[in-house]
């Protein structure tokens, strides 16, 4: 049995938004945060994070600025904008409904169907 899970199409944006909502973070930090909070269940191909970050920035839901990392390197930190917070709420609600729906389907018993 596999120990990691492939991401569903379109869920990377939600994960990034949630990771950033916990506090401003650079790209590598976002990756670690997702892995840690998912208890290493979700594995993201590292390079694919950046096109997603740039897309979200282009859409205006996150913003970036250069700062200094914990080991004193120059790093780019991302933070949520107001639009990003609204987007996170919407995406979360949507995911909850989807997950509930899928849960109900999976929990269905033969006599109820």
């Amino acid at each position: 049995m596999a120990t990691t899970t492939e991401l569903l199409q379109g869920t990377l944006d939600l994960l990034i938004l949630k990771a950033i909502s916990l506090g401003p973070q650079h790209g590598y930090g976002i990756l670690l945060r997702i892995q840690q909070t998912s208890r290493d269940l979700l594995q993201i191909q590292q390079g694919s994070l950046y096109p997603a970050l740039y897309r979200l920035e282009h859409q205006g839901v996150i913003t970036s600025e250069w700062g200094t990392s914990e080991n004193n390197r120059k790093a780019k930190y991302y933070r949520l904008t107001a639009a990003g917070r609204r987007r996170l709420q919407q995406e979360t609600a949507y995911w909850q409904r989807l997950s509930d729906g899928i849960g109900f389907v999976l929990a269905a018993q033969p006599e109820r169907a």
Binding site: H26, G27, G47, Y50, Q59, G60, W66, K76
Partner: protein, 876 residues
Amino acid sequence: MNMIARLRSFCAVLLWRRRIQREMEQEWQFHLAARVDALLAEGLSRDDATKRARMEFGDLRKWREQAREVRGFGWRLVSGASTLLWDVRSSVRSLLRRPGWASAVVLVLATGVGLTTSMFAVTDPFLLKPLPYHDPDRLAVVRFGPDGVTRGSRIPAFTDIEARTDLFEGVAAYGPRRPNRLQLPDRTIDVMTVGVTERFFTTLGLPIRMAPRRESPDASSPLPLIVTSSGRQLLGGVSVGDVLRGEQGRTMQVVGILPETFIFPIPQYSSSIHGLVPFEAQDVLRVDTWTADGRPGGRGASPLPIIARLGRGVTVALAKERVSVTETTATPLDVDVTPLTTVMTRETRPLALGAMMAVVLVLLVCAGNTGNLLLARTIDRATELSTRAALGATQAAIVRLYGVELTLLAITGIASGLFVGWTILAMIPRIMPEQYSTLGAPVLTFRVALFSCVAGAAAAVLAGVPAFLARLKGVVWRDQTAFSTDPRCVRHLRWTFTACQASFAMVLAILAGVLVGSFVNLTRQQAGFDRDSLAVAASYSYDVTSSSGAAAAVVEDSLFASLDRVQRLPGVVAAGATPAPVVDLGMVKESVIVDGVTLFSDVKPVTPGFFAAAGLCVVEGRGLNDTDRADAVVVTESFARTYWPSESGLDRIVEMRPGTGQHARVVGVVRDVFDRSWDAQPTPTIFTPLERRHLSLGRVNYVVKGQSGGESLAGSVTRVLRDVNPTVVVTSASSIGERLWDSVRRRTFPALILTLFGIAACVITTAGIVAIVASTVARRKREITIRVALGATSSDVRRLAVADVATAAAVGVALGWIAGRWLSLGLSGVAYGIAPGHWAVSAVTGTVVVAAMTMSALVMAGAATRVSPGSVLKAE
């Protein structure tokens, strides 16, 4: 969707693309460094950690590509622009390495575009551009002829036509042109005005209102004057409200100034009118002279035309049918209703179409030539293109590079062509007949420039597509190394291009040959006048009104006093005068009875000195002298030949002015003269002694023969006429040679244009053939050297160099010759004294063109015989 964020991102990409790219790389470097640190902490060696970090990160190129994509249109735009800029730089460098080739392409395209620009500017108003009136398709000219009108009946009056609101929405009329002398503070000038009816402008759909007709003109009140743009130039910048003083206390007040775009809706008037005044005639349509058999005749027989705006749904045919039937005429009237557009463009449209056809042919020749040049370039670059392909350039990138190169050449060629066209347009008014500028002077407008750009681009695309396809298919660079000769598809394309060029050039050459032959015939035509020493001055006394005997007497006194003074001018040999036109399309026809038959003949009243002054050759009897009165006339040879074919015309009796009992004896027969135009066959004419009644219109033409040039004489005669009678307006003064040339400009101008086009096409084609031969020799040097070493003679080498191109040119010339002969039949309207399609003209023209092409090709092929084996081996 956050539009502001997207816009900010778009602007950031446009402004800071490099910075964004740099920061992206920095960010990724940080990521990799952080990951390497983490892996080092896990115990991996630096090399292993670096490798693993890179592997986990994935394909950098892929992420880079995706990172650009997600930034939207801005990034794609900037990225495309950057690639394009690189292509442009590369193409410019490539073109600069072959300046001769690039200049040849630009020159050929510029020639084609330049000729297109100039000809389109001239012909556009007659072919495509609508007339500058509102809804011009509903404007028509209504003209009544003499048929159907008999004594006792009448042609509908202007007001009758105006009342036909079921047919016409608006009706307007205009009077004849009339000169007016005006006193400006610093000088006296003569302005040409025309009277127009009150609804003249509204009929044309122009928002201008003309002053109403004055029922009883009061000399003390100023005459309202609307000034045209040419009038404004002549008057030196008048403004509305200015009062201009005329002769005998008459004044004119400027009530309006017409824009430069205004065109008078009659071609003959459009360029010579300085102002418009209210129409004062009582009735536009009138017949006041009748022949013995009760038909309209003489002056006033041709009523003035009317300009009408047809009602909605009314066709020209319907208007004609309904207007021709009236209650007062027994038979339907002879009425002609013609669309105004036809009237305005009738004479020039066929020639304009011909000119545009010539333009298309020249453009095709240019396209063929450019196509050959591009093919040659493709072959020359075969190695370079193969190298690019081997280094990883995609076919799309190579094709894009080709497209950029062709675009650069096309842009330069078109821009140069527009400059050439502008230069030609600056010179063209000097040689262009007035009839071609009636709808506006040819200028380089945006519309003309746009048409030329499109035509030039079409020619460039036509030329570029074959070479483009050759590159696309990879035929050229794949086959190049395998053959010493050019690939087959290239040979076929070049053959086609050359044949087409030769064919089109031949067509133009034959058409030009017909017109040049026509021009030569014209110059050899004896006009019957002494072209070098004769001057003609046309004068007009504007105070004369019709049927005013007293005024005619003033004109007569002034005429003889002027003749007396002119004859005393130094260098003047003889002087005469006539109220009839001299080398002018106008004519005075009167009814006469010859041997019991009523004729409608040209009658020219002349002074006794006219024959000596005009240099008319008396072939029988004598000319008119001082003692002759109305009982003596002189007829022309054609008159005598027509009415007394087998007998002498001398002493015949002609009844002048039938019904008055005036009989005249023919005292002499003179040789025919081309007194209408140089190319119009003389009509049978009667010369009668000048009488006072002939001067009632106030027009007199003075004919003066001098010892030296007619041009210098014209100025002296003008001064004398003004000196003798200050009220006389000299409307024109020139040598008879000048008048004769002006009269045939409608033939000489197309001849000149088509000759230029023919020469341009032949030169371009010949240059193209020479270039192909030169290119063949340059590429096949090695083969030629080997052939020479194996015993090939000079003629063998020449044959090798020109074989392909000679076949193509021969086929093209043959086809062009046949097509040219057939197309030249369309020139019958402008050719003079020559039958279009005549074998001799076609044969001579064809021989000249073929000789020029063959000689040029053989001269260039001679270079092949001088190829040195040593230099070829050294080069290898």
